[in-house]
């Protein structure tokens, strides 16, 4: 009832605006939603070609073959490990650092900030980083993945801005009068006040870790240590390689190879579905923090 009255009370222009707005929203939703839907549809179909709204021949063969593959499972476990451990490590490094740099009485903070800012514009370069990791003896070690991207300048600055604006100096003064030191102040007062930034940081780092494949590709050797994203890459590359081999005439039984390409194509979609599901589940809960995180960046850079 309420709604209906509201609708009647609106003037024509408003109504037209609402209608156009609605249509546009539906359109944008469709544009965003269809690719995801398409991936799900193809993952259940027998052939990639011809599956648009419903699967072209329903089958679970793709899922069967990926779940039978031990590398997919170990990849899944690795991705979860890299994400969880990586996020924890990143938070432990980023938050205290950002807090310290936000304090006006921190000596030399502008110099340190300057060094950090430089990395936003000039990276260390791939080869020096690799040699560094190699000299540390971390090639083919899970530590290389956790340690090589502990924090990013962008996230650090974001967190610093948050502390800067939400933790007033007076608060620390008051705490100090009561006999509270720096460490205790950070743990007992700053951290509980900083839940939003903690969540935002965790989400930013988490998504980056979940999707990351390049660092892993560079530093890891054993398939058992590969994350899921890299397994997916491998699948993609192998399809290309196989197609190239067919084209080059290296394969005698072409129809068999084509079948293999077809199945690998389906598997690829199944793997995308499987690997995005956890993120899909987490996103709705984290969404409000996500928006907040963007706002923090907007107020002060």
């Amino acid at each position: 009832m309420e709604r209906k009255r509201k609708w009647r009370n609106q003037c024509r222009a408003d109504r037209i605006f609402d209608i156009v707005n609605g249509i546009l929203m539906v359109f944008i939703f469709a544009v965003c939603f269809y690719p995801l839907y398409y991936i799900v549809v193809v993952s259940f179909s027998k052939q990639v070609v011809g599956s648009y709204l419903v699967p072209n021949g329903f089958t679970l063969a793709g899922y069967e073959s990926i779940f039978q593959n031990k590398d997919v499972w170990s990849g899944y476990a690795n991705t979860i490990f890299y994400t969880v451990a990586g996020v924890l490590a990143s938070l432990v490094v980023t938050l205290p650092c950002a807090y310290a740099l936000s304090r006006k009485d921190c000596v030399g903070r502008n110099l340190v900030m300057g060094f950090i800012m430089v990395t936003m514009y000039i990276g260390g370069g791939l080869v020096p980083s690799y040699i560094n990791i190699s000299n540390l003896g971390l090639i083919n070690s899970r530590w290389a993945i956790i340690l090589s991207s502990l924090t990013t300048a962008y996230n650090l600055i974001l967190a610093r801005s948050f502390f800067y604006t939400t933790i007033p100096d007076d608060l620390f003064e008051a705490a100090r009068v009561d006999g509270c030191g720096n460490g205790r102040f950070f743990v007992q007062i700053v951290m509980p006040l900083s839940k939003p930034i903690t969540a935002v940081m965790a989400l930013y780092f988490g998504v980056a870790r979940w999707n990351s494949y390049f660092t892993e590709m560079i530093y890891l050797r054993d398939l058992e240590k590969y994350p899921l994203s890299l397994i997916l890459r491998r699948l993609l590359w192998s399809i290309e390689a196989l197609e190239q081999m067919i084209e080059d005439g290296l394969i005698e039984n072409v129809s068999h190879a084509m079948k293999e390409v077809e199945l690998a194509g389906i598997m690829q979609y199944c793997l995308i579905v499987v690997s995005t599901i956890p993120m899909m589940i987490i996103y709705p809960f984290m969404q409000k923090y996500f928006a907040k995180g963007v706002m923090i960046g907007a107020v002060k850079g």
Binding site: V127, I131, S134, L223, S238, E240, A241, S255, H256
Partner: protein
């Protein structure tokens, strides 16, 4: 050489010296004193009398030596690692060397290789199938990252030398533009070629003979256009001519007598009577464009020829809608019957039937790191791969595991194990992860009718395009890249434009030729000529 004897003598004196000064320490301590590699080895030779390695006999090493190998997973399967192949165990058994294999799929390797090359700690001893480009090999060699093999091959490369003596192109394929050998090729024994097939049943249906020239082909196309040649009741679905966009151009060029196989991108060159010429401004090329333009205008040429992907083409071919295309459909694996290989077409401007072919080898498939502890052992191992038994194992797999011999005299084999028909009779697990010299007499007879016909045509008419043989120096590559980047785009645009009618061949041709020269076609030709002369030893 002189330097080496000097070194050995010094080492010997040093060893004697040390033996004197370390009285009471015993021989063992002498050999363990920290000295340079060269000295300690010589010490071992002189004092213990058992050399580390044997030249020309197996096993290669007398005591276990660990060699790290980096190679590629060339299986087209995501989770099959080259490291798991059975051949490594066999090699270890034969040579006595302990082999550690690290392998990645091509794309991963491409990213990792420059990093590995830059960090000595991560370098393997031997690189197999690492897809080095020729210029990379030369750069790495000159920078001292890859071992210069010239003198080692002279001293230890017994099998490689046999190969150089037997295959006239083998040495040329191994040597870089600076005259040194930093990496060794694989010798496939067979060439890849740009062949095309027609459909005999269509010809029979329209009552025409197999065409032998472009002009006759055009007449055949005309009839196909107006008839239902594939007999499906629809007289309009026939496509006279189609193909894979990349290969199609090479295939058509061969009908006007121009032999190009490589490169796929950029500018094309061919040579006649030791003179290199720029293909895309020749009259033959113009004639080909005119002919194709005529076909295009009249709807004989597939109008998706420049854009289609392999799946699209495959669908057309399987529906029996294409009369002539590059490659072929084998009736034993596909629903299309009637495929046949015509004698390569000639034309008004060319009277020699020709099939363009690649060189029967791949360059730079085996190289050795310069900082390896055991250069001699590495060379001996690499050399062993070119021996008869190792090459056979590398290319065909292991007898009794991967294949069984059905005809002893002619080496006709049948695949065992996973019978998925991958890579012919070869076992995908061993195939293509190391260099080899596949002897001509091991090449298996074709199993299908079409395969046999192809071999026949190939034997009679294929010629290796000369570009395959050339080696360029770094400066030359830089120059070529700069010119070819722009010129290549211009050429591609006009190739498509002339055929589809965007540009008028009669009106725009002179302008086009002039523009090509302005953009550096002549300079490019000169660079190719220099490389050509260098390869063939022309002054």
């Amino acid at each position: 050489m002189k330097n080496k004897t000097l070194k050995k003598m010094m080492a010997f004196t040093l060893a004697t010296f040390m033996a004197f000064s370390a009285v009471g320490c015993g021989n063992e301590d002498v050999t363990n004193t920290p000295a340079t590699d060269a000295t300690s080895e010589s010490v071992a030779e002189t004092v213990e009398e058992t050399p580390l390695y044997n030249v020309g006999t197996l096993p290669i090493v007398n005591e276990p030596v660990t060699i790290k190998i980096l190679t590629q997973d060339v299986t087209g399967r995501p989770f099959t690692k080259a490291a798991d192949a059975g051949i490594w165990a066999w090699l270890e058994e034969q040579t006595g060397i302990t082999i550690e294999v690290e392998s990645y799929p091509a794309e991963e390797l491409k990213t990792k290789l420059p990093l590995i090359m830059a960090s000595p700690d991560e370098m393997p001893d031997i690189f197999l199938r690492c897809d080095f480009k020729e210029t990379d090999v030369m750069n790495y060699g000159q920078n001292g990252q890859l071992l210069e093999l010239d003198s080692y091959i002279e001293e230890f490369g017994t099998n490689i030398q046999v190969c150089f003596d037997n295959l006239d192109y083998a040495y040329g394929a191994s040597v870089s533009a600076d005259g040194h050998i930093y990496a060794l090729p694989s010798f496939n024994g067979s060439k890849t070629l740009v062949s095309y097939s027609m459909n005999k049943e269509w010809l029979d249906a329209i009552g025409k003979e197999t065409p032998t020239t472009l002009e006759e082909l055009y007449e055949v196309f005309k009839v196909i256009q107006t008839s239902d040649a594939n007999g499906n009741g629809d007289a309009t679905d026939e496509i006279c001519l189609s193909g894979d966009p990349k290969t199609f151009k090479r295939m058509m060029l061969s009908t006007v007598g121009i032999n190009c196989y490589w490169p796929w991108e950029g500018c094309l060159f061919d040579a006649k009577d030791d003179k290199v010429f720029f293909v895309e401004t020749t009259d033959e090329y113009k004639y080909m464009l005119q002919w194709l333009n005529k076909c295009y205008e009249e709807g004989m040429l597939d109008n998706e020829i420049f854009t289609q992907e392999s799946a699209q083409l495959k669908a057309k071919k399987e529906a029996n809608q294409v009369f002539m295309f590059n490659g072929y459909m084998d009736p034993e694996n596909t629903p299309v019957t009637g495929g046949m290989f015509p004698v390569p077409l000639t034309s008004e401007v060319s009277d020699t039937p020709l099939i363009a072919a690649s060189a029967p080898y791949q360059v730079a498939t085996g190289a050795i790191a310069a900082n390896t502890e055991y250069p001699e052992v590495c060379v001996l191992l690499l050399d062993y791969l070119f021996s008869e038994e190792a090459s056979k194992a590398a290319y065909w797999g292991l007898e009794g595991v991967d294949y069984k011999v059905t005809d002893e005299a002619n080496f006709v084999i049948e695949g065992l194990g996973e019978k998925d028909g991958f890579i012919g009779s070869r076992n995908y697990k061993t195939a293509m992860i190391m260099p080899y010299w596949n002897r001509d007499e091991w090449i298996q007879p074709a199993t299908t009718e079409m395969g046999r016909a192809l071999n026949e045509i190939q034997g009679a008419y294929s010629q290796v395009a000369f570009q395959n043989y050339l080696h360029f120096t770094n400066e030359e590559v830089d120059q070529v890249n700069v010119i070819a980047a722009d010129l290549g785009l211009y050429l591609d645009d006009h190739y498509v434009g002339f055929i589809t009618g965007t540009y008028d061949i009669e009106k725009d041709w002179d302008e086009y030729v002039k523009k090509c020269q302005q953009m550096g076609a002549d300079e490019l030709t000169k660079i190719y000529q220099t490389a050509y002369n260098r390869y063939y030893g022309i002054e």
